[in-house]
């Protein structure tokens, strides 16, 4: 009865043997049912690898769906709020998708691999919704989550390291572009995408290539100070860069139990992803109505005085609670104390002065801090190298 059952343990990713060998802290988490490292050796040093050298993150547990067929583009245009027709072959687009009530189900990236061939990379599992939405469309949906291993290779020296790996001319790849190479005779796809807001790439191979890819990458990258990074370091980088995370900054609408806890794209600061020129997409009429009537909440990026992260803080306007923080971090590169908050309308416009109620503990002593903060228009971290083509030498 009490014998351990290996089949019931969290699954290893294709990189697990290598990740495990490098995970000096032996600090593990559960991501999508996979054993994934929270930290390898030092969260702060891992974070600075992303910003100063190269950080490598195993993103194999991401959900990947292949969408093919004559109606693949029309299908995706129906499902997501942005216009997929504008996405060229070998280009990647960030997208959100909503239910009919115009509430965000998840966000993800769409890779256009061919005219009738797409890959959707989502944080949440999407099998059920994708199949629901295929009614009437000539498309085939394939769950490829376990068929593709992925590494995020992010940071100023990332282009140099990957070029050494055999990605000739990678520096010419534009942001959100896709390039195809071979690795040990097998296909290797590289996209200039990431979750760090920095110069960086995501490398996609078959699981059989995973261990060799990791080995060569770290061998070739040694002189460029390549380091593995865990989820804690990545989280700081994504907050600094302005990226949302499902289940942290919003609850996927189909999992919400309590009325009113879902959010629309407008309420998440993603209005730029909604293209009403498309005649029909899921949630369109509800979003049009919201646009006319106004939203309930506003996504606000807060620059907070002091250096205490405003985790789980209430946001006040005078005596009134007008919002709550969803993500917060001290951001080491921009040296700022940032937070994302959901603010009740009409508060939270750029420039609005608010107060964050912060609790922090030092040696069991709790302090309550009322920290003034200001709504800013976008992430403070936005380096040129993120956008430059050719990718600059470090």
């Amino acid at each position: 009865m009490n014998a351990p059952q290996r089949d019931t343990m969290l699954l290893p990713t294709p990189f697990h043997s290598r990740v495990e060998a490098m995970c000096e802290l032996n600090d593990w988490g559960n991501w999508m049912g996979y054993t994934t490292p929270n930290a390898f050796f030092d969260v702060e040093l891992e974070y600075f690898a992303i910003r100063s050298t190269t950080g490598v993150f195993d993103l194999s547990p991401m959900n990947k769906y292949r969408i093919t067929g004559p109606d693949a583009e029309a299908f995706l245009n129906r499902m997501v709020t942005r216009n997929v027709s504008k996405l060229g072959v070998n280009r990647v687009g960030y997208a959100v998708w909503c239910n009919d009530a115009g509430q965000v189900m998840d966000d993800g990236t769409i890779f256009r691999l061919g005219e009738q061939d797409f890959r959707l990379c989502s944080y949440q599992r999407a099998d059920d919704w994708l199949h629901w939405c295929t009614l009437g469309f000539d498309v085939t949906i394939t769950n490829e989550s376990e068929d593709i291993a992925g590494l995020a290779v992010q940071g100023p020296t990332s282009c140099t390291v990957l070029t050494l790996l055999g990605c000739a001319g990678l520096d010419q790849l534009k942001p959100f572009g896709i390039a195809h190479f071979t690795f040990e005779g097998a296909p290797m796809m590289v996209s200039r995408t990431g979750f760090t807001g920095d110069l960086g790439y995501e490398v996609w191979v078959a699981p059989e290539q995973a261990e060799a890819l990791w080995d060569q990458l770290f061998e070739l990258g040694r002189d460029y100070l390549i380091k593995p990074i865990g989820s804690y370091a990545l989280d700081i980088a994504r907050i600094e860069a302005g990226f949302l995370q499902a289940h942290v900054d919003f609850v996927p609408s189909e999992e919400v139990v309590r009325n009113g806890r879902t959010r629309s794209p407008f309420e998440l600061g993603l209005e730029w992803l909604v293209d009403f020129s498309k005649p029909l997409f899921n949630g369109r009429s509800a979003l049009l109505e919201e646009k006319a009537k106004g939203s309930r909440y506003r996504f606000a990026m807060l620059d907070i005085e002091g250096n205490k992260p405003a985790e789980h803080s209430f946001i006040m306007k005078g005596d009134k609670v007008v919002g709550t923080v969803t993500s917060a971090a001290w951001c080491p590169t921009v040296k700022s104390n940032l937070a994302y908050a959901q603010i009740e309308m009409p508060h939270g416009a750029v420039g609005d002065e608010l107060v964050a109620e912060i609790y922090y503990q030092r040696e069991l002593h709790w302090t309550r801090l009322m920290a003034p903060c200001r709504v800013i228009g976008g992430p403070l971290f936005n380096p040129q190298r993120r956008r430059q083509t050719p990718a600059p030498p470090f």
Partner: protein, 538 residues
């Protein structure tokens, strides 16, 4: 000396709970029990030396934590231990396991269908939305929509508010949920037979309806709305069997000065000038009180122990037509060791949960067809547990006790009473089904207690052997339970009350009807309330 402030008829969990709250308020209370032992259907008995059976009810989840805490049941010996696991075995040798870890559970369903594994999250959220609507009303009296009393209006308004706050889509979902069949409900989410069958079991247990009968989606909810330590939908075992709940309640009741009288078979409620005055036993003994509370089901209460001359015609009519159809039986089995099931490692944690052998809605519906045809199911739906994998007190070390809930079994076989031969046939259909999946099962059987509706009615006093004391369909729930106009625990006779599972919020070892009835009685007596309010479920 036989004078009390209140007499409660039936020492099941609701009778004891009701008595405890009345005694706690300072009343002199006696709980009368027909059997030589207490518990009703919440009982543990040692029928085979060294083995304890939870003879009737077998798992705990619905028991209100507010009552457990308030009546200090843990101090009086009650420990409810959650169990994990569960599986439905399939005819093709595979199975579907139930894991408490979300990702592990996902992976198990994904073996059968990735789409269903993903849809399970949507199903879980939608079902949780429905449990959130109903849970706040468990420890409350159901408001009467025809009443203009301020209290009913206030409670109705509150219900309307939480109902409408679900939004348009939520409202329509709710109406569908309360009226749909569990089969149709599950078909909206899933494509895999075995997953649907695994979940649908909760929609038919204790109900004389099939998986495609309207109203069974609610029955599923009834099995989901409980919790163990705040884990909504989780189930546990009472350590020592379900009798441990009755024992702890009786000790709590006695700690407030209450008196339990066993072997007291009530013949009739004594009524004088339209006022309840006590009860007379079959042996002629009388106990007197101005408050008489019946913990019997509505049929027995109004058709057996009340003189029809004391009752309004419409109550007699409603009691006669009350739906309380027997649908289930039970086998309790002492085992010489652990049975092995095809395709499952005996050390698997899945073994500690609820095990089933119906791998499609089709088979479950056919099992119901047998019931309609007046016979027990030849391919029954079983809800089988091995509590001794969780609770070391149920069987000697290394031995096991098995509780097998069996659906369907009709109250009468082809229109006539059950015979011993019928009972043997019923037992055989169950044991054969288990043995189909477990090669060593038959050799391990040391003793078997088999209960058809006949035995359940005769020994426990549940009419037709219906475990919920009345079907859990919308026409018999909330302000309709047991009948419209009598859903607030008051009987038609002054001083007469009802506190059984036949009242709101219904069956299962919940203790809420007993507590809610006590609150109403104390209100009528203008005594301070001793019954706790429900925990917020926000």
């Amino acid at each position: 000396m036989n004078q009390y402030d209140a007499i409660v008829i039936g020492a099941g969990h609701n009778g004891l709970t009701n008595g405890a709250y009345l005694a706690k308020a300072g009343l002199k209370v006696a709980v009368l029990e027909r059997n030589p032992y207490i518990g009703g259907a919440t009982v543990s008995r040692e029928l085979h030396k060294g083995w304890y059976y939870s003879n009737c009810s077998y798992v705990a989840s619905l028991l209100r934590p507010e009552i457990t805490r308030d009546l200090e049941l843990p101090r009086h010996g009650l420990q409810v231990v959650p169990f994990g696991g569960g599986a439905t075995f399939m005819r093709n040798g595979d199975h579907l396991g139930a894991y408490s870890d979300h990702d592990r559970h996902y992976r198990e369903i994904a073996r059968h269908s990735k789409r269903d594994a993903n849809a399970y999250d949507r199903y879980a959220a939608d079902t949780a939305r429905q449990t959130k609507l109903i849970r706040p009303y468990l420890l409350k009296t159901a408001p009467d929509p025809t009443s203009l009393k301020p209290r009913d209006l206030r409670d109705l308004l509150e219900f309307a508010k939480s109902f409408t706050s679900m939004g348009e889509e939520g409202l329509l979902d709710t109406i569908k949920f309360w009226t749909a069949s569990v089969g149709d409900y599950l078909n909206e989410y899933f494509e895999t037979d075995v997953l649907k069958a695994h979940l649908a079991g909760s929609g038919i247990i204790g109900t004389a309806l099939g998986v495609y009968s309207p109203g069974t989606a609610y029955v599923l909810l009834h099995h989901y709305m409980g919790d163990v330590d705040g884990n909504v939908g989780a189930w546990g075992f009472a350590r020592g069997g379900m009798g441990a709940i009755a024992d702890a309640l009786s000790k709590s009741f006695q700690s407030f000065g209450g008196e339990i009288i066993c072997d007291a078979n009530v013949d009739e409620i004594i009524v004088r000038d339209g006022q309840a005055k006590g009860v007379a036993l079959k042996d002629g003994t009388e106990y007197h009180a101005d408050i008489v509370v019946s913990n019997l089901d509505p049929k027995r209460t109004f058709l057996d122990i009340t003189n029809p001359k004391d009752l309004p015609e419409d109550v007699l009519h409603k009691a006669r037509n009350f739906k309380i159809r027997g649908s289930s039986g039970k086998l309790n089995i002492a085992l010489d060791g652990l049975p092995v099931f095809d395709g499952l490692d005996p050390r698997s944690r899945l073994m500690a949960g609820d095990l089933h052998f119906s791998d499609s809605l089709e088979r479950q519906e056919r099992a119901y067809d047998d019931w309609k045809n007046g016979t027990w199911s030849k391919d029954p739906y079983l809800d089988m547990m091995i509590p001794s994998l969780t609770d070391p007190t149920m069987a000697p070390p290394g031995k096991h006790m098995m509780s097998v809930f069996v659906q369907y079994a009709p109250p009468k076989v082809e229109g006539r009473d059950w015979t011993d031969e019928d009972k043997d046939g019923f037992e055989k259909s169950v044991i054969d089904q288990i043995a189909n999946y477990s090669p060593n099962f038959k050799d391990l059987i040391l003793h078997c207690e088999t209960r058809t509706p006949r035995e359940i009615e005769a020994e426990v006093g549940l009419t037709e052997g219906n475990i919920f004391m009345g079907e859990l369909t919308f026409d018999q729930l909330l302000f309709n339970r047991p009948f419209p106009g009598y859903a607030q625990y008051r009987g038609p006779i002054k001083g007469m009350y009802m506190c059984s599972s036949g009242t709101h919020p219904g069956g299962g070892v919940m203790a809420a009807p007993g507590a809610n009835a006590a609150r109403e009685i104390l209100m009528d007596l203008k005594r301070p309330n001793t019954v706790p309010g429900g925990y917020a479920d926000d």
